[in-house]
């Protein structure tokens, strides 16, 4: 039986939406208050969905302790209480939540014990983003 397991992780980080491709006026016009030079921050929720056959011995798609340990060392410890713009992954790209979703997907794709289905990132309680590696993320 194939089941899907979803886990929500929390991280708090600052960022600034800005691109060198635009001049100062265009950055302000496009990114608005998110272009504030000193940055601002969010409490992000990153919801990771993995899938696989439920192991008849354990009743599990994967051991949650393994997923949590992977999330902590590969994701939370790198992103939580950071300034996203200073991280390597946002050196070339704007630290929007779309790009954060794609980066989270790239990271959790390396989790060896289950298949990554999608990543759902909530920037605030009103904004959320879904990424499934280019496929339709489907019903969240």
């Amino acid at each position: 039986m194939k089941a899907y397991l979803s886990r929500r992780y929390r991280l708090s980080a600052s960022h600034r939406l800005h691109t060198e491709a635009y001049d100062a006026a265009k950055n302000r016009a496009v990114f608005g208050k998110c272009n504030n030079p000193h940055g601002h921050g969010h409490n992000y929720v990153v919801q990771v969905t993995v899938s696989g056959q439920v192991d008849p011995e354990t009743g599990m798609v994967c051991n949650l302790a393994d997923l949590d340990a992977f999330a902590k060392s590969n994701f939370i410890d790198r992103f939580d209480h950071s300034n996203l713009n200073t991280l390597d992954c946002f050196r070339e790209s704007v630290s929007t939540t779309e790009n954060l979703s794609i980066e989270a997907y790239r990271i959790f794709q390396r989790f060896p014990a289950a298949h990554l289905e999608r990543v759902h990132v909530e920037e605030t309680s009103n904004n959320s983003f879904d990424y499934a590696g280019g496929s339709d993320p489907g019903l969240i």
């Binding site: 039986m1 089941a3 397991l5 439920v54 354990t58 051991n63």
Partner: protein, 136 residues
């Protein structure tokens, strides 16, 4: 086609244990969930059904009827019970969130008139849930 989701809640005790394994292996794999005295959760069940809107009633399914089916088939059997000891399907199956979703699917499949069961989602915690779509 419309998807319609109904929520229900149940509070149950459980523990994780595989009788085929020695105690040390159960403790290694299941950690604190292997405490034989059990622990419990407030589970939230979300059942999503798919169907066409009836042109006269405007319903996919009658929500009251769906609520009663969930109550009869699941909540009255799981709520305020010890899943391992009092719910037959968990006598031989570890009551993980994944297996609870599969067991609830089996209890509901074919019982909802005029709609197709689309998804069973079980939240063990607000930050942890399992989905089952009837896939083998």
């Amino acid at each position: 086609m419309i998807l319609l989701t109904r929520k229900a809640e149940f509070s149950s005790a459980h523990f994780y244990w595989n009788e085929k394994w020695p105690e040390e292996e159960n403790r290694r794999v299941f950690g604190k969930c292997a405490n034989r005295n059990g622990h419990g959760h407030n589970y939230t069940l979300e059942v999503t059904v798919a169907g066409e809107v009836d042109p006269v009633s405007g319903f996919v399914v009658d929500l009251k009827q769906l609520k009663d089916i969930l109550e009869r088939e699941v909540i009255s059997i799981y709520d305020h019970r010890h899943l391992n000891l009092e719910v037959p399907e968990f006598a031989k199956m570890v009551p993980t969130t994944e297996n609870i979703a599969i067991a609830i699917w089996r209890r509901l499949e074919g019982k909802i008139p005029n709609a197709k069961l689309h998804r069973v989602r079980v939240y063990e915690l607000p930050d942890l849930f399992a989905d089952f779509y009837g896939e083998r």
